[in-house]
């Protein structure tokens, strides 16, 4: 059996001295798409922040392996260069940083970290224009400062654009569907599906089964109170849609 792209072992994470993740076990084999669903506040974003290495998310127990190697000691930028990408639930607006400058810096920084040559300007332009076209992203949007003044849906599209350009091994999409209209959902899902590949895996966090009609998952996991409490195939998402999360809530002591 080949090494899974992402493996999480008994992960415990504290935020500001409060334990949020209480023993997460998850294996995402190469080429698979896994979905995570769960109540607000159950710890889904905490999981994606801990995987991507945000300061303040303290791993107290367990391990996170990317292609078989622990990434706990790596800084966020090193994890990205190792092939990790998270599409943010709430992308950050950065006034004064031009979108194109940012994209080029990110692509070249990763290439440099991997010992690859930097992109020439024509190569870079071509890549951006192609990816932007695929995602119906307006050229004018790319001329603005990063995410500044983008609508909610535009920000999510821009996240997927970054994902397409950075070609990660492991993609985490944290509620990329929220804030998208029906057409945008279609465009973004197609964008994500285009990136599905035998050596690339995805973790899709969502509240809506609807997204999973477009991006069909191999596995669905139910998250509750900082743990995965149930896993199944795509039918599980339909079941959740019908019955809600009540059955998975922790039993009151």
């Amino acid at each position: 059996m080949s090494t899974p792209i992402l493996e999480i072992r008994d992960l415990h994470v504290q935020v500001e001295d409060k334990e949020i993740l209480k023993g997460v076990d998850l294996v995402v084999p190469a080429g698979e798409v896994h979905a995570i669903m769960g109540r607000n506040g159950s710890g889904k974003s905490t999981l994606s922040n801990a995987i991507t290495g945000r300061d303040g998310y303290e791993v107290t127990e367990g391990d996170i392996l990317l292609e078989g190697k622990s990434i706990l000691e790596l800084e966020a930028d090193e994890r990205a260069a190792a092939g990790l990408f998270m599409a943010f639930q709430y992308p950050i607006e950065i006034p004064g940083v031009a979108t194109m400058t940012f994209l080029k810096s990110a692509m070249n920084a990763q290439r440099k970290a991997r010992g690859e040559d930097e992109l020439t300007t024509p190569e870079f332009m071509k890549a951006v224009q192609g990816a932007a076209k695929d995602l119906s992203i307006d050229k004018d949007m790319l001329k603005r400062a990063l995410n500044v003044g983008f609508s909610g849906g535009e920000k999510k599209r821009a996240e997927v654009l970054q994902m397409a350009l950075l070609e990660p091994r492991m993609c985490i999409l944290d509620e990329t569907d929220s804030g998208l209209d029906i057409d945008a959902l279609q465009v973004v899902s197609e964008g994500v599906n285009r990136l599905r590949a035998p050596n690339r895996s995805m973790l899709v966090i969502t509240h809506y089964q609807r997204l999973l009609n477009h991006i069909v998952p191999d596995r669905v996991h139910v998250f509750s109170d900082g743990r995965i409490v149930e896993s199944g195939d795509k039918e599980l998402a339909l079941e959740l849609e019908a019955k809600g999360y009540a059955a998975y809530d922790p039993v009151a002591a």
């Binding site: 300061d55 260069a81 950065i94 990763q110």
Partner: protein, 414 residues
């Protein structure tokens, strides 16, 4: 109450002797009583010159200067360049039409209750007078070089922008690596409808102490923008005294303290809206790294007659190290009732969410920090219309960023 004379410091004694030697007996008498300003003088609250200015070199004399020294590649290719070496002006022969440049003597500053202004008025040697006429919009670059052994240079630039005329003045300061003391002055008078851009860049060696007093007078319908960049010198104070004397005039006053270990840079601003219907915007930024101190004091006074004044002052600070200090004091004194005035002030570290966003895309921490610092400063540079000048300013910032990572002491949380 005691009326005993204060004990003068060594620096004060040297300045007193220079005033006496210059025949400024009244000024010397006054200085002997007041000395250099301490923190008890309101406008020097954060810059106690008596303790900060520890030593005063000999006054530069014209004979010290080797004339016609090497002239490096022009800093700005389309500018008319004037050099002042240790206070001595050299003016190229053929000035283009619309530009009058001549040598004058004495101080260019008006009398006012300020120690640095008094010293400039008492000790000034030469100054250069520049008059912009017509709307060609010449750019003049005045480069002040403090050269050779440490010396005390007292000089000035006097600018008139004729009614309806426009122009840009860039003032650059650089130096040899010696403990020079500069007491520079610039006076700008804008005629009716005149337009003016003024950029002042201090790139002196760290050994230098740099003082610069600026005076602005804006006539009816005049408009101007300035930008002060303090990045050289161990001790610097750039003080601006602005006055609106004609209605419907507008001023954008901006500045930057870009400071590192051991530097104390002060921008002090004093603006009087003295007539009705004038507008001003002030934007002052400080970036401080290691044990550096950046000071901004801003005061806007709106006279009783100055109805419809619209003035907004903003001070923003970015602290990159724990030992860095940014001290800010904004003041509004409003004596008219129909005005729109406000001030704001923010000071903090780089935003950690923003930093994480950039790093999560693979951009290393130091590079991400540099991107955010450049972004923080962009709104100071963007409004300047001269791309070459903006490029120069960006290069100053890039150079500053490269001389050590901005992340000193800000490693990973654990």
């Amino acid at each position: 109450m005691t009326d005993q004379k204060p004990i003068l410091t060594g620096a004060e004694k040297a300045l007193l002797a220079q005033l006496e030697q210059a025949g400024q007996s009244a000024g010397a008498h006054e200085f002997a009583i007041a000395g250099l300003p301490t923190r008890r003088v309101e406008s020097y609250h954060y810059s106690d010159l008596r303790s900060l200015l520890t030593q005063v070199p000999l006054l530069a004399v014209a004979a010290d200067v080797a004339p016609g020294t090497e002239s490096p590649a022009p800093y700005l290719s389309d500018a008319v360049c004037l050099d002042m070496v240790n206070g001595r002006v050299s003016i190229p022969g053929n000035m283009p039409a619309g530009l009058v440049v001549k040598e004058i003597s004495g101080s260019v500053l008006s009398e006012r209750d300020d120690a640095l202004v008094r010293l400039n008025r008492g000790l000034a040697g030469q100054a250069v007078h520049i008059q912009f006429e017509g709307d060609v919009g010449w750019t003049v670059l005045v480069s002040r070089h403090l050269s050779g052994d440490a010396c005390h240079v007292v000089d000035g630039v006097d600018v008139i922008v004729a009614p309806g005329a426009s122009g840009t003045l860039v003032e650059m300061f650089d130096s040899s690596d010696a403990a020079h003391l500069g007491n520079h002055a610039t006076r700008v008078r804008l005629g009716e409808g005149a337009r003016f851009t003024h950029v002042i860049i201090d790139l002196c060696a760290r050994a230098v102490r740099h003082f610069h007093s600026l005076e602005y007078d804006l006539g009816t319908n005049a408009s101007m923008r300035n930008l002060i960049v303090n990045s050289g010198a161990s001790l610097s104070r750039v003080q601006m005294f602005g006055r609106f004397s004609g209605s419907r005039a507008h001023g954008d006053f901006t500045g930057l303290n870009l400071v590192d270990e051991g530097q104390h840079c002060d921008i002090t601003f004093d603006l009087g809206h003295a007539v009705p219907d004038t507008t001003s915007r002030e934007l002052f930024k400080s970036v401080a790294r290691n044990r550096a101190r950046a000071v901004f004091q801003g005061k806007i006074v709106v006279d009783p007659v100055a109805q419809k004044t619209d003035a907004k002052m903003m001070a923003q600070g970015l602290m990159l190290s724990e030992g860095a200090q940014i001290l800010t004091k904004p003041e509004l004194e409003i004596f008219a009732d129909d005005v729109q005035c406000g001030h704001g002030c923010t000071c903090g570290e780089l935003d950690s969410d923003t930093l994480f966003y950039l790093m999560s895309r693979g951009i290393p921490r130091a590079e991400a920090e540099s991107m955010l610092i450049r972004a923080f400063l962009q709104e100071l540079f963007d409004p300047l219309e001269n791309d070459e000048l903006v490029g120069r300013l960006e290069a100053i910032v890039a150079n500053w960023l490269e001389n050590g990572s901005a992340s000193a002491g800000a490693g990973k949380a654990d």
